[in-house]
Amino acid sequence: MKHQYYQQFNEHVYSKELANGLLVYLIPKTDYNKTFVTFTTNYGSFDQSFIPIGKTRKVNQPAGIAHFLEHKLFAMPDKSDAFEKLSSFGVSPNAFTSFDKTSYLFSGTKNIKEALNYLLDFVQTPYFTAGSVKKEQGIIAEELLMYQDYPNQRLMYGIFRNLYKNHPLNTEIIGTMESIHKITAHKLYQAYHTFYHPSNMVLTVIGNFDHKEIISLIEENQAKKGFEKVAPIKRFLPKEPKAIVKPSEEISMSVNMPYLGVGFKLTPAENITKLYQQELALSILLKMYLSPTSDNYQNLLKKGLINQSFMFSPMQSVGALALLVASMTEKPALLEQEIKRILVNLKRKTIDEAAFAREKKVMQGGFIRALNSLENFNISFMSTLPYGITLFDIPQLIESLTIADLSALASDIKAKNMTTFLINPEKAK
C-alpha cells in the first residue's frame, strides 16, 4: 500500500489500486469517534450516452437514470432493504447522485468493518424488477414535485436551460416526469454493469480505524467476486454551441419578492486539471468584485438592490464553465443592469495585487477549515480525483494562480453570453 504523509496538514493517506481496478483511499483520524465511508462510481446524471460494457454500439438513456438507479440499488434479491440492513449495524447510511458521480456512504462509531463489508456487497448486488421500478417512480415523482416548489432549484436550472442547448446541465439530476417514466429494469442493468464495475469506482474511508485491518477486509471482499480490470468507459457528451439558448425568461411562483438570476456562459478548458484551476480563479475573481469587500457590493447595498440572499458562484463541469449571480430584489431590472455593467466591464479593470493576495489567503483558510468535517474531507478528497489531482494539491494550485489567469476569465465574460431568469411573485388567489 502507498503511504503519503502531508506534514503541512498533519494528515496521512494510504492508497492502493486493487487487481480489479478499484481505487482505495484510507485516511485514519484516530482522535475522531466516527468513521465515514464513501463508495463512489464515476457515473452521474451527465452519463446518458455511452457504449455499454461488452457492446460496440452507443446507447442513449433517459435523463435521471443515475439517480433512479441509486434509489433502486438498495432493493435486494431477498426482498430486504439494504438501507435498513446497513442501519441495523448502528451506522447512518445515505447516498447521493450528482452530475458526474453516485456515492453510497455511511458514518458510524461502531461495527465499521461489518458495515463496510455489507456496503461493498449490496452495491455489488443489483436487483431491478418491473414492479419495483414502477413503485420507485411514485417516490421520485414526489421528490420532483418537492423541488418544483424550491425557488433556488428553479432559478438554477432555469439559467442552465437558457445557457446550454445540448449539454446535460440543462436537465435536473433527478430527470423529468416524462423521462423517469421511460426507465426500465433492462436500462438499469445496462447502466449498472457498465458504470458499477470496480475499475470505475473509488472507495474512501476516513476516521477512527486501523488501516491494515480495513485494507485486508476490502481486498478479501473484492477478491472473491471475480471482477477483472476493464478499459475505461466510452461516454459521449453532445456537442455544445458557443452561443446561449435564450437571453431571458420569466416565470411566476409563490415567492414574496422578485428573485433574479443572471448567468454567463464561459469557455471551459479542454484539460480537466486546467478546468479545475479555472473554477478557482473564477471564484477569486467574483469575490474580488462582488463580495462585501468590494465597492460594487457596497453600492448595490446602498441602492437597495440586494439583501442577504445575494449570492454568486462559479459553475464548472466537464464541457461547461459558467458563472451565476442571484438575489431576491424589489428592483430586478435595475439589478440586472448593474450586474451586467460590473461583470462585462471586468476586462477593463486592473486587478489589485493586494486584494488578490488577500483572497488567496482566504481561500487557503477555507481549505484548512474544510478538513474539520470528515464528511467534507472525504467527499472533497474523492471529488478531486477525477481532475487528476489529490485534495492536498489544491493549496499549491491556489498559490500558483496569477493575475493573468483572472484576466483571461474576465475577458471571456461577454454581454452576448448573458442570460437572466426572473421569478415573479404570483398573487395567491
Binding site: Q8, F9, N10, D31, Y32, N33, K34, D81, E84, S87, S88, G90, S92, P93, S107, G108, T109, G138, I139, A141, E142, E143, L145, M146, Q148, D149, Y150, M253, S254, V255, N256, M257, Y259, S291, P292, T293, S294, Q298, L301, K302, G304, N307, Q308, M328, E330, R358, K361, V362, M363, Q364, G365, G366, I368, R369, N372, S373, L374, E426, A428, K429
Partner: protein
C-alpha cells in the same frame, strides 16, 4: 466559561452569548442588533474594512445571530479562526480584540441602520419561500397561540417595522447592562489566553431557567388548512408531550421519538415512505424544553388522508404494544451513534455542551449513553400514552394547480 478543550479540529471558536427570557417587546431589537453590530467597529469604520480585517485573519468567520433555546433568547457573537499550526502567526489575540470591538461599541452603528433594517425585513419576507419551513412556523404559531413559545425570535415584519435608530440604541445599552453573559470556547487554550478572555469579557452567574413549564390542556385537536401556489401538500402534526429535559421519562421520550420518526429505521419512514410511497420526507421531532413533539412531511395532495391514517395507526400501535426488542435496540444505537458523532463536529458539540450547561446537566458522554441504554420498552409505551394531538396543519396546493 464553557470550554471544550481539545486539539482535534483545525480551527477554534470563541463565542460570547447574551441571554434573557424571551419578551415580545424585545424581539425586533434582538433580531436587528447582531446585524447592525457586525457592520463596522471603531478601528474598522466601514463594512468593507471590517470584512477585510476578517479576511486578513485567513478568512475568519464572524457569527452574529439571535437564537431561541427553550425560554431564552440568546444573542451570540463569535469568531471561528484557523489554529496556529496552520498560519504564519497566531490569531487568538487579534480575534479577541476584534470580537470585543464588535460587541462593545459606544453606540450602535448608525450609518447602516436603514440598510440593515431593509435587509432584515426582506429576509423575513423571504422565509415564506421555503414552504417546508413556513408551514412549520405556521403550525407552531397556531399551536402556541397564547403561549410565549409561539414567539419567533427571528422577528416578524411588524416587530422590525416599528424600530427606530434611537430605540435600538437605547435597547443595546440596556441589553449590555441587563443580559447575562456567557463565554464559550472550543479549541486549545493556555493559561494566558484564558486570563485574557476573563479580563475582556466579564461573565456573570445569573442563571436563567431555560425550560418552559407552561402546560396547556388539549380538549379537541384543531385542524387548520391553508393554501398556497405549491405542488405538494405540507402536512404537519403538533402533539403535546409533557416530558421535559430533566424529567424522569426524558430519555424514554428521546428513544420514543427516534423509534417513531427519528431516522430511516423509524416507523414513519418505513411505513409512510417506504411501504406506501406517500412522501419523500417524513420525520418527527421532540422538544424537551417545552414538552411537545411534531411530525412534518410533504405529501401528494390527493393522498393526504391515507398518510394521516397511517401516521395515526403507527402512533396507536406504539401506545398499545411494546416496541420489538430489535426496534428498541436500533433506536438506542442510532441515538448513541449520534451522541458520539456530535463530538466530531466542532460547533454542534460546543452548542450541546452549552445546552447541558443551561440545564445543569453534568453527565459525561458515557453517563448519557448509559441513560439511553437503560430505557425499557415499558417506559416507551408510557411516553407514547402521554402524547396528545393538538393540531393538524396543512399547507395545500390551490385547487386549480
Amino acid at each position: 466559561m464553557i470550554i471544550d478543550k481539545q486539539k482535534k479540529f483545525k480551527t477554534s471558536y470563541l463565542g460570547i452569548k447574551f441571554k434573557e427570557e424571551i419578551k415580545k417587546e424585545h424581539i425586533g431589537f434582538r433580531a436587528l442588533l447582531p446585524n447592525l453590530l457586525k457592520t463596522r467597529t471603531k478601528t474598522y469604520p466601514t463594512r468593507k474594512l471590517l470584512q477585510e480585517a476578517l479576511d486578513d485573519l485567513y478568512g475568519a468567520s464572524l457569527v452574529a445571530k439571535v437564537t431561541k433555546k427553550g425560554n431564552l433568547s440568546i444573542l451570540e457573537f463569535g469568531i471561528s479562526f484557523i489554529n496556529p499550526d496552520f498560519t504564519d502567526e497566531p490569531l487568538f489575540e487579534k480575534v479577541v480584540a476584534l470580537l470585543q470591538e464588535i460587541i462593545y461599541q459606544s453606540n450602535v452603528p448608525k450609518k447602516d441602520f436603514v440598510i440593515e433594517k431593509r435587509m432584515l425585513l426582506e429576509k423575513i419576507r423571504a422565509l415564506k419561500n421555503d414552504k417546508t419551513r413556513f408551514a412549520l412556523q405556521r403550525m407552531s404559531e397556531e399551536m402556541f397561540k397564547n403561549e410565549t413559545y409561539g414567539l419567533q425570535v427571528s422577528g416578524k415584519e411588524e416587530d422590525v417595522l416599528a424600530l427606530s435608530y434611537q430605540k435600538v440604541n437605547n435597547y443595546y445599552q440596556k441589553m449590555l447592562k441587563t443580559n447575562s453573559l456567557d463565554v464559550v470556547f472550543s479549541g486549545d487554550l493556555n493559561e494566558e489566553e484564558m486570563a485574557l478572555l476573563k479580563e475582556t469579557f466579564q461573565e456573570d452567574n445569573n442563571e436563567l431557567e431555560v425550560i418552559d413549564f407552561q402546560n396547556k390542556e388539549v380538549l379537541e385537536p384543531k385542524t387548520i388548512v391553508e393554501t398556497d401556489t405549491i405542488s405538494q401538500s405540507k402536512v404537519n402534526l403538533g402533539y403535546r408531550l409533557p416530558i421535559r429535559a430533566n424529567d424522569k421519562l426524558y430519555h424514554a421520550a428521546v428513544v420514543f421519538n427516534t423509534a417513531l420518526g427519528g431516522g430511516i429505521h423509524s416507523r414513519l419512514f418505513l411505513n409512510v415512505r417506504e411501504k406506501h410511497s406517500l412522501c419523500y420526507y417524513i420525520s418527527s421531532q421532540y422538544d424537551p424544553f417545552k414538552g411537545f413533539m411534531f411530525i412534518y412531511s410533504g405529501i401528494d395532495k390527493d393522498r393526504v388522508d391515507l398518510a394521516l391514517k397511517v401516521i395515526d395507526e403507527q402512533l396507536l400501535d406504539l401506545q398499545t404494544n411494546k416496541l420489538k426488542e430489535a426496534e428498541l435496540n436500533l433506536s438506542k444505537q442510532t441515538l448513541i451513534n449520534r451522541f458520539k458523532e456530535l463530538e466530531d463536529a466542532q460547533n454542534q458539540s460546543l452548542e450541546a455542551l452549552y445546552t447541558r450547561h443551561l440545564l445543569n446537566n453534568k453527565k459525561t458522554l458515557e453517563e448519557r449513553i448509559a441513560k439511553i441504554e437503560s430505557v425499557t420498552s415499558a417506559e416507551v409505551v408510557e411516553v407514547a400514552n402521554l402524547v396528545k394531538k393538538d393540531i393538524l396543519y396543512i399547507l395545500a396546493p390551490e385547487d386549480n394547480k
